[in-house]
Structure formats: structure tokens, C-alpha cells
């Protein structure tokens, strides 16, 4: 399946924009220099500018920002950092220690994405204000693929949704603005959520969602091939690092994953179950072609070696790689992978009773499964039950702490604040001054800031029903040749994004009132804007922005939607995310 890519719109231009901007910043420090990079920015920098580009603009050596400063070799040093307290303190220590030995060293500090005032303040306090030159570098959306853009702001979810710091919105808004500047004003806009509201541009539709509109998707185990790769090996900025056993070498290797690799492009969105059979068929085809070569005449052979052999060999290598990856995933999936899936899907569809899920969760806790796995299941359990009874919550929470340590009391509290966990403290327990009745306490107020709590009686289940997220269980879903986005979860659940975008795109023109009404069941408010009727609408290209991270599963679902609706869909997000990242972002370290 291939979405309609032909519709204009070269997103690669975004990468060039960012790289030009980076070059400008580098040229502000003309001549040779060493580059010291915040670990958090490494991956992003890789995507924006290659080593050759950096070298051609005077970058001599590159180091990761660590506690011990690298040796001074150039007369200039450029630091590329996020505005984080820890990194800046390290930087300040570097400058202090280098300054003694190399008073001539010129230090440039590039803050990504914005030079905020407290950074200046901090450097001033450190007595470094005059000693360094400050710059800012604001990257645009980085195209991870033709239809996937990311700002690589991994901490956005925690900052905005847990701590109420929506600074990142400015950068998303700026990035969307750049898109509008490049491709024209976007006539149809639908934004839903608190962060989405804050960023309010040959793109016809713009959808903006907050991550909290759909927590269920990231919590569920990903079943598409790309999703599975992300869950197992972790995909960072579109690059996966396969361990040695997968690449067939001793050392791990980084492999970029995008549509340029045709084999990968064909399997990335497939249901995991159908990937290996596809790969085997492909491998057989390749082998057959090679065998044909056995019976070739000399001239045919010459031709074959000159043209096809190379592609065949690289095909072969890729196929082998992905087969090994599949194998590695199958081997490492939990022994009771089936039970896990049944439980998850049972919880979502409401098919199996909650008791079984609870039992399974307790088992997992007793077996000391990894913390993030347990938390994911716990959250999913709570969400799908529209909150837990106090007794349930208490029991599970205390076993959670017994398994993973008491300090995760904070983690649990964070999760509750995000509404990922919810305990409906019964009114009978008159002892409980709980969060619901104490709108005045800090948490309640913070909740006001971070997200509008869904109204009572409008829990997840009601929302799922209203938005028809759970497909009819009687309808069979063909996992191998899917036609419905819910295939990503074996037909148990449709990601909210895919559902809403699908509904909106099925009608030409403005969004229907029914659709807008149905969004009321999600936390936050809706903003919609439509071009006046009759104004020209360009080609069908939709931009879907997710504030707080998008999962590869959602990307896959939207890619299917792109094919079925004949629209080009570009997904943009603050970063890509999976369930483990979502949860571990909230875990108290």
C-alpha cells in the first residue's frame, strides 16, 4: 500500500530550512571550532546536518556534553544545548575550568530552541555573562519521512501535561507557521485540547490534538511492524539501533527507517503477524531470480551483474535483516504475549471481565515484570474502567510499590494527576479529602492548568462509545489486507486521531457539527476554523499535529486512512513516542 505521495509538497525543504539556520548559527563563530552537543540533541542534529556539512562550516571535533570537559584544541568552542538546568551547570563548569588554562578560548552557546531569560540569568549568576556569546537555534519540523514530521521535543509531554509548562507550544506554533509560510494558509483547522489551543496555516486540513485526547493508544502493545520495532528496539528520530544479534555482527548498528527503503516501506505498516510471511515470500522471489542467473548466457549474465545483482544483493541483505529482527522480537515477546494481548484488548472492548485483567496484573507484579510494563497495564486498566474503586486502587497500588519500591508513590501520584490513573474515592469513605472534593488544593489547580478534567460520567468508556472507537466485534478485520484503521489493534480499537481525521475527511469542506459535538467527550476544548465557502481549496493534503508525542501505530493507522480517503496525510508531532516512553517520562527518578 502506498499513500498518494504524488501530491506536491516537498517536506524535505523543512530539513534544508533547519540546516540553513544551523549553518547561520555556526557561521556566527567563523573559523575552526569544536562542537559540544547536549546528548538530547544528538539524534536531532544527525537528522538536520551530516558530518560533512558541519565540517564544511568549520566544525573540527564533536563531543557529547559530559561532566569532564573535552581537551581544548580549537580556539573556539560551540555548545549546543537545551535550556536545562543540569546541562547548563555542566557547561558553566566547563567554561570555568577551561578559562583558567585557555584564557583565549572563545565560547559560543547555542540554546535550542529558544534563548530564554532564565538561561541568561543563570549564566549571569555564574559570572559568565560576558565570557560567552549566546545564540539561539530554533529547528523546524524535522522530516523523519515523507509523511512524518517531528520536533524531537521529548520532554514536551511531561512539561506540558504534568507540570503545566506550555512553553513548547510556542515552538510548535512557530513550526506550523513556517509550514503555512511555505505551503500557504490552511483553510480548515480543527484543534482540540489545551496545548492544541495554544498553537493556533498546499495544505487543506490541519488537525491538532493533545496527547491526552487518547492515552489508550500508546498504552496498548503496538502490533504493526514499525510499532513493534519501536517497542522492542526503540526508534529515535527515525533511526533504530539494532543489537548485534539482529545485524549479524558483534557491534550494534544504527539503521535509518524510512520509505526510501522499499522493502521496509512495504512492511512497516503491516500487522506484525503478516510480516514474516511476506518477507519469506520476498526472499523466495529474490532467490528465484538468483537461480535464473545460473542458466544465463554470458551476455545476459554481464547485464545481470551490471544491473540487477546489486539491487538483489542489497534486497537480500535487507530482507535478512528484517527477518532477523522479526525473529528477535518473536523470541523476546513475553511468554504470555497472547494473554497480554487478550487482556489488553479485552479491557478495551469490555469483552473480558475486569477480574481477569486484575489477576493478570497482579501476576505480572508478582513476577517482577519491568516497571513500565506494569504501569502501562495498570493505567490501561484504570482508564478502561473509568477509574478504579478505592479498594481496587489501594490493593493494586500497594502491590505496585511492593514490587517496585515506595518512591513510586510519586509516580502514581503523577499518573493520577495526568488522569492516566483514576481512583473514584467513594463518598462513603468520609475520611477521604480527595482530589475531587478539594478543588482548592494545588493538584486540583494544577489540573485546571494542565488539562480540563473530563466531566463526571463522561469517562473513557463514554467517550469511546460516542466516538465509536470500538469496532463492531462481529465484523472481521482482515489483518493482512486491512481496510479499517482498527487493524492496528487486531480490530479491537481505533486510535482517536485516526477516527476523527477519518470522519472529518470523509466530508468535503467544513467540519460537521456532529463531529464537533462528539469531540466534547474528550478533555479540553475544540477550536475549528473553516475557510469561507467558495474559497479555493488546494489539493487534499492534511497535516495532523499531535502535541505530546505520536505513536507509530497512529502513524500506520493514518497511512491507511491516507490510502482509503485519497488524501495525503502528513503527521507532525513534538516527538515520536511509545508506551514505555510515555510512562517512563512520568516515573519519578
Amino acid at each position: 500500500m502506498s499513500p498518494p505521495q504524488s501530491l506536491g509538497l516537498d517536506v524535505e525543504i523543512l530539513r534544508r530550512l533547519s540546516s540553513d539556520r544551523l549553518v547561520r548559527v555556526l557561521e556566527d563563530a567563523p573559523g575552526a571550532k569544536d562542537l559540544i552537543i547536549d546528548g538530547d540533541l544528538m539524534k536531532m542534529l544527525d537528522r538536520i546536518a551530516g558530518a560533512t556539512l558541519l565540517r564544511s562550516h568549520g566544525v573540527d571535533k564533536m563531543y557529547r556534553l559530559e561532566r569532564v570537559p573535552p581537551p581544548v584544541q580549537s580556539s573556539q568552542r560551540v555548545y549546543l544545548v537545551r535550556p536545562s538546568l543540569l546541562q547548563l551547570k555542566i557547561l558553566a563548569d566547563h567554561v570555568h575550568s577551561d578559562h583558567a588554562a585557555h584564557p583565549d578560548l572563545h565560547v559560543h552557546v547555542v540554546v535550542v530552541p529558544r534563548l530564554v531569560s532564565w538561561v541568561t540569568g543563570l549564566l549571569e549568576e555564574e559570572g559568565l555573562y560576558g565570557a560567552l556569546t549566546l545564540h539561539e537555534f530554533c529547528p523546524d519540523f524535522i522530516p523523519l519521512d515523507d509523511d512524518l514530521l517531528s520536533l524531537e521535543m521529548t520532554s514536551f509531554f511531561r512539561d506540558a501535561f504534568l507540570e503545566g509548562d506550555f512553553s513548547g507550544c510556542v515552538d510548535v506554533a512557530r513550526a506550523i507557521n513556517t509550514l503555512q509560510g511555505l505551503f500557504g494558509q490552511i483553510p480548515y483547522v480543527l484543534a482540540h485540547g489545551r496545548a492544541a489551543k495554544a498553537v493556533m496555516p498546499e495544505i487543506s486540513h490541519l488537525f491538532i490534538f493533545d496527547r491526552d485526547a487518547d492515552y489508550v493508544t500508546p498504552l496498548l502493545t503496538q502490533l504493526t511492524y514499525e510499532g513493534a520495532l519501536d517497542d522492542h528496539f526503540g526508534i529515535n528520530a527515525g533511526v533504530v539501533e539494532f543489537p548485534g544479534e539482529v545485524v549479524g555482527q558483534d557491534a550494534p548498528r544504527k539503521v535509518p527507517l524510512n520509505s526510501k527503503d522499499t522493502i521496509y516501506d512495504n512492511i512497516r505498516n503491516k500487522h506484525f503477524a503478516s510480516v514474516s510471511s511476506y518477507l519469506i515470500t520476498k526472499a523466495k522471489e529474490v532467490n528465484a531470480k538468483k537461480e535464473q542467473a545460473q542458466n544465463m548466457t554470458a551476455s545476459q549474465m554481464k547485464d545481470f551483474v551490471a544491473n540487477e545483482l546489486r539491487t538483489l544483493q542489497s534486497c537480500h541483505a535487507t530482507l535478512a535483516l528484517h527477518l532477523r529482527a522479526c525473529e528477535s522480537i518473536t523470541k523476546s515477546v513475553k511468554q504470555d504475549f497472547e494473554t497480554q494481548l487478550t487482556t489488553e484488548h479485552g479491557l478495551v472492548t469490555g469483552a473480558s471481565n475486569a477480574g481477569q485483567a486484575r489477576k493478570f496484573l497482579k501476576n505480572c507484579l508478582a513476577r517482577m515484570q519491568p516497571l513500565t510494563d506494569n504501569l502501562r497495564l495498570f493505567c490501561l486498566y484504570s482508564l478502561t474502567q473509568d477509574g478504579l474503586s478505592p479498594k481496587d486502587y489501594k490493593q493494586l497500588a500497594s502491590q505496585m510499590l511492593a514490587a517496585h519500591g515506595h518512591k513510586h508513590l510519586i509516580t502514581l501520584n503523577n499518573l493520577r494527576q495526568l488522569n492516566l490513573l483514576c481512583a473514584t474515592e467513594s463518598s462513603a469513605s468520609s475520611t477521604g479529602v480527595n482530589r475531587d472534593s478539594s478543588g482548592t488544593n494545588i493538584q486540583g489547580r494544577l489540573a485546571q492548568v494542565t488539562s480540563l478534567l473530563p466531566k463526571k460520567g463522561q469517562g473513557w468508556r463514554a467517550a469511546a462509545k460516542r466516538l465509536r472507537l470500538i469496532p463492531d466485534p462481529d465484523k472481521t478485520i482482515d489483518l493482512h489486507n486491512p481496510s479499517d484503521p482498527s487493524y492496528v489493534f487486531n480490530g479491537a480499537y481505533t486510535p482517536v486521531m485516526a477516527k476523527v481525521v477519518g470522519e472529518a475527511l470523509s466530508v468535503r469542506g467544513a467540519f460537521t457539527q456532529t463531529l464537533l459535538d462528539s469531540l466534547k467527550v474528550l478533555p479540553g476544548t475544540t477550536i475549528s476554523r473553516a475557510a469561507p465557502p467558495g474559497s479555493p481549496v488546494g489539493p487534499h493534503v492534511a497535516l495532523v499535529v499531535m502535541m505530546g508525542g505520536v505513536t507509530y501505530t497512529e502513524v500506520a493507522a493514518l497511512r491507511l486512512l491516507a490510502v482509503t480517503s485519497g488524501t495525503r496525510i502528513i503527521v507532525a508531532s513534538t516527538s515520536t513516542i511509545n508506551g514505555d516512553q510515555l510512562v517512563s517520562g512520568v516515573v519519578h527518578k
Binding site: E163, S398, G432
Partner: protein, 843 residues
Amino acid sequence: MALISDWTQLGDDVFYRKHEVYSMDWGGGINLADFMVASAPYGGPLALTRDESRFTKTHQTGKPLIFIFSSSGKKISSFKIDPSAVYFVDKKWTSGFLLTLGWSRGEDLVCVQEDGAVLLYDMFGNYQHTFNMGQEAKDTHIQSSQVFTSYRETGVAVLTKSNRIFMVNNIHEPKTRKYPDLPGGTVNCWCVVREERHSNVLVSQGRDLLLLNHIDERPQALYPQWNEPGGSVVEMAVSSNSRHIALLSDSGKLWIGSSDIRIKYCEYDAKSQVKPRQLAWCGTGAVVLLWEVTLEVVSVNGEATSYYLDSSSHLAQEADGVRVVGSTCHDLLQKVPQVVVDTLGIGSMAPGALLLDASKRFQERSTQANDCLDMIKDSMEEAVNQCLQAAQHQYQPQAQKMLLRAALFGKSFIPEMNPEPCKKTIFTLRVLNAVRDHRVGLPLTWSQMEHLTLPVLLDRLVHRRFFPLALEIANFLKIPETDGTSRILAHWACFKVLQPSQKSDEHIAKEINSKLGYTPGISYTDIANRADQAGRKQLAIKLIEYECRAKEQVLVLMRLGEDQTALRRALQSGDTDLIYTVLCRLRQKLSSGDFLMLIRNFPVAQALHMRSCQDLDTEQLRDILVQEDDFLGQGLLRVKEAYNSSRADTRLAALQGAAELFRRAKHETHLQMTEEQIKLYRWQIRLEENQQKPYTDKSLHDTIHHLLLDGQIKEAEKLRTEFKISEKRYWWLRVVAHAQAGHWDELAALAKNKKNPIGFEPFVEVCLKTGNKLEAQKYASRVKEENKVSCLIKCGLLEEATKIAHEQRSASSLAEVLAACGPQHQALQSRLQQLLSDPSLKS
């Protein structure tokens, strides 16, 4: 002809004309002889103050009263030099005898005092700034001083009573330079001669003429070629372009030559032993001597003429002429430009003159027009240009009209001619006529206007507060908004906020906004700042509301002390950085309590503040939580702190504190969990003491797990009872630990226990996980019936699996076994296929 009636011939084809530009609005009551007068070039304002040197000094501590008039004699302001303004120069108002008045390029009045203080005022008498000419000048006092035009700026030079010269080249960056010392003796006169970027001083002392510059250590003596040497120079004047100089000797000889004294143009005998009242250049072609009642004009080729004056006057030197300000009228004396002579001169046969003639004849409907046209048909373009240029140099609208009409008449014969010069002339003349109006009083000539440029003219109008006129001109000439309208409006607004008014601040702010709107280039920040400087804080607050750049707005509000409003605006802007800036400032300004109470009203700000506290300042965070009576939050904070410390007693204390807080928060779940943790922690400490192994950072499960790994089953058992771990969980823990440690005997022993609550699947699983298939096989047959086949497969016991599957008569199980078969299981595979073909199987 009326047009040339005021011309006076001075040499071949050289004419001078003197015509009245204004009759003075100040009436005839002013005798200029009693005043010290300073006039600014480019038709600038006049400053007058009573010339104390002409009266008996009474040594009164009177402050000099200064009047400022426009060129047309309209009073702009009068003021006394305010002692409080010079406070910074001198702690008290000392003698402060005013020596010299002068005008800067920006039309600020420069007042030089005897004690070396230089004060600047704008033409409305508003004090601008002050500097002084150095300690030496202050100590020795100044005998005379000059305000001159230096390279692109205005400078001040002084001669102290100790015969030393000090100079400041730019009054806006006062750096005093000392010039070489003069020999003793009285200085007759001196002047500043500008040379490119630096300024030299020419001094006449005794019979010597000395040139001083700031590089050489000694003065350099100059020797102008006099016809009769031996006189001393008593008066000198430099032309506006600094190229020419006129020297007057004590015997009344006037030497005119180049400013470096090397070239002599002519020498003229003024036949007077008395010094003239003033000596000045008229443009670059003639020198003017002002006597009591006559004005003598001497051209550079030695020809002279005189005019009679009806009152004592003052000369204002311009680049292209000289203005003569008298008690009742204000005249302009200038050389008649050559093009005007060509066009209007009697008997001139220049194309312009013929075109003018043709135009006149044409209007008279005379056929002679044709004859004239015939004569110039080959040089029509030149004729048109001459008429245009002649019009440019006419002061009277009538004459301008006549010449323009002739130009347009001529132009109609050459349709391809570029219309721009015509257009420009007409438009500019309109502007010139408008500013020459006596209500405005800017008697600019065309060439002055060219030199001054239009933007500067607009600035000058704005400076004089002729806002409507400036606006009209900007609109008339279609000047881009940012340079024209919006700039003028912004100045107007700044002026407006300074004016005392009966109207409420709100009203004024509204009025300003209604005029200005959101024109590009207008900064409400600047206007508000101006209002604030004028001490009108409330007006500034009202004005800043109109600022659309949030950042500027917030910063100004903070400066004005409107912290709450600043915070509210910052929050509205959604710019986190801005919010932090405001919070930071508020924290410095307010007491901690007040600060917390304030941000309480702004949840977003509070959230941001708490976030920043989490990283930097937990005590502050606690204060907030205490203020809010948020026991739960405090408790959680305590828990965090507990794990930041590795000291056992600190951690225990923190946890106990947390428990207490949870109790107060009535949060039972947290309370109970924390209490259990305390219990566990104590237990762990004891374990550590007994076993010298780290336990304290482990969870309950981990603790038991490690005890089991070490074979401490009894200890583990104790923990289990103490913490009421269910059988099931405990069994799981044991199974996992035993397998991991390779305690297969223990595992087997456990398996023998009849009360197995978890079945044997976990046994198989853990064994397989450690890779021990053999151990796993032991338990595979004991699992539940429905899981048996898959367990057996996992253990690699395919034969048994087949057997069981066959017994179960389950097709799916058989298929499962088949799928697990590898190439080495050929026989089994065929058997399975055979079994699968049995139709009686359960699907």
C-alpha cells in the same frame, strides 16, 4: 521690470538682490543693539538676551532671560536659565555669567557661560543637558567663546582668560581638547576654521596671525599679503563652507582670501577706524560689513556697494546668502543665481529668457510669441530647464508662477521630456511656500532646502510642533508611512503626553490611539515611556495598554510598577519566558508571603513557579503548599526528599513526616503505603546490619527475592508474614528466585507442596527462562490439561506433546505441534499429518 528692481550689480554680470522676507511680528519695540543675538542657519530661530556688557554691571545674581523667536519674529518661548538644571555641573548657582549663545545643528540653543559650563535647551526652553569645558576653563574663566559647526556636528570653542583654547568637537559627546598655548598678550579676535574632520583655530594676537591645531605643539604664524603690512587683524569671518576668510585690520583694510591665507582674492579699503558691528559672508561670493546704519557688501573681486538700514540689525550667515534681521523687517541678501540672471536679466537672449517672453506674448495672444519660439526651437529643453530653475530661486509665488507657466508652455512642445523635474519643482515650491509663511517662519531658499533634505525639514517642523503642517506635507508628497505620517504622529503623541491637560488620562490615551491606531512604525512603548518620564505614570499605564507587542508591554508595565497587570498580560501572551521574567522580578520585589499570595490568583503562573521551584528551591515549594494547606502535596514532597538522601535517619525522618502529613490530608492509601514502607525500611536496616548487604533501596519484592537468592528462606518467610503477602505472590517470588539462583532442589521441594496456588506453568516458564529445558520437562506434565501441549512443545518434548494432543483429540493442538516441527522431525511430521487427517478430531 519688478522682478529685477532689487538687483544691484557688483561686477560683470554679477548681481546681488536684497528682498524682504518678513516684517517682524515682534513689532518695532526691539532695539537689537541692546541684545546679544544668536541666529541658526537654514532660517532657524533667533535667540535674544540682553547684552549685559553694554550696561553697567550691577553684579546682581539675576539669571539671564532668554527670548526665542522664529525668523518671522514670532515669539516661541522665553525662559530663564534655570540654576537647578546646572546642579550637576556646580553644586550651586555661581556667577554663571552668560557669554555666548549659539545654535546646534539640531536647533538646540547652546549657552556658554563664563565658568565654562555649556547648557543646552530646546527652542521651547526645555533643558536638555549640560557639560563643561574642563577644570582649567572653570578655574580661569572664559573671555570669549564660539559655537561652530564641526564635521557633521556642532562644537564649542573657548578662549580662557589665561589665553588657552579648549574645544569640544561634538556637544553630544563632550570631549575637551586643549590647543597649543598662545604667547602672552591680548587676543584681538579669533575664529574656528574647519578643515575636513578637525578644526583649527585662527587667532589674531598683537600684530601676529596664528594658526593652532590640536596636533602641533606650537602655533603656526601666518602672513597674509597686505598691501600695507603692519596692521593687526581686529575682526575675521569664515565663509559657511570654510574655504574663504575675510580679515579686517585696525586700519580698516579688508583682506579677502582663502581660509589657509595662501591666496588673496582682493583687498578693500573700508575707510573706517571703527570696528564694524558684524562681519559676515554672503554665500561665498561676497563679504558683508554691518555698520550702524549701513550694510556694505564687498564682492571677492573687490567691487562694493552699500545699503542703508533703518534700524540696528543682525547678520545671519547662510550658505547661499546672508539674512539681515532688523527691528522691523527681515531681509535676505544673496547673489542672484546665474540661471536667474540669464532668464530674467535685461536683454538676455538665453533660451529661458526667450521662452519666458514667448509665454508672456502667448498669454497676450500676440503673434510675436511664435517669433520667440522660432528662435529657441532647437534648444527648447534647455529653455524649459532654465525657466524651471529660475522659478526655483524665486521667493515670490507670483514670480514662481510666471516662470513655471513659461516652463510648462515650453514643455508642451516636447512631449517626450521627462516630467519629473517639473513635478519635483512644483511640489517642492509648494512646500517651500508653505514653510515660508510667516506663521511658520522658515525662510528657506531652494538650495538650502536641497541641502537640508525633506526628512530633516519634516523633523524641524515636528520639532517646532507644526504637526498638522508636517502631516499635510508628508501626505502631499506621499512619503512612505514609516518615514512620514507615523513618525510625525508618534512625535505628536510624545508631545501630547507632555502637555498639561484638563482631560482625564484615559481620555488622552484614547485620543492618541484614535489618531494613531496601529500604524506601522508607531511604538506605544516609546510614547508611554515619554509620559512616564514626564511623571504621568497613570497616562503611561493607559497608553501601554495599546501596545501590541506583549514583551514590550510587559516590560514597561513592570518598570511602571504595575506588577499585577504585567503578570496578567504576560499570562495572556502565553509566552512562558515572559511569565518567568515577571515572576522573577516579583520575587525580588515582594516579600515571600506577598509574592505567594499574589500568584495564588494566577494558576498558570503558580504552576510555572512551582515547576521552577522543583529544580531550584524546594523550600519555596513547601511554603506554597503550606500556604495552601495542601498536606498531600507536602507529603509527596517529603517522600521525594526522603529518596534524595541516602542517610538512613534522614530518610526515616522524612518518611515519618510524610506519613504524618498524609494522615492530616486524610489520604489513607498514601498513609498506609508510607507506614508500610517505614516498617519495611526498619526491617531492611536490620537485615543490612546482620548480613552486611545492601537492602535499603530495594522494594519489598526485591528484598524477598534477594533473601531467597541467598537461600535465606526463613527470613523471607518472616517478611511474608509481616507484610501479609498472599500465597500466590509469595509462590511466584519463590519460583522466580529459585530458578534464577539455580536452586533446583528448592524448586522441586516447593513443587512437592500440595498447596500450590499458582499451578505448574510458572515452574515451566522460569526454568525455560533460565534455559534449563531438562528441569522444565519435570514440571511440564503437571500443568493444567489445556496448557499441557504448549508447555511440552516449549520444553522440546514433541513426542509427548503429540501424544497428549492426540489424547485430547484436539486438531488445533496437533497443528500447534506440527508448526513447531523442524526439519529433524520428518517422521513425527508425517505421523502428525496422518493424525490430523482423522475427521473425528475436535476442531
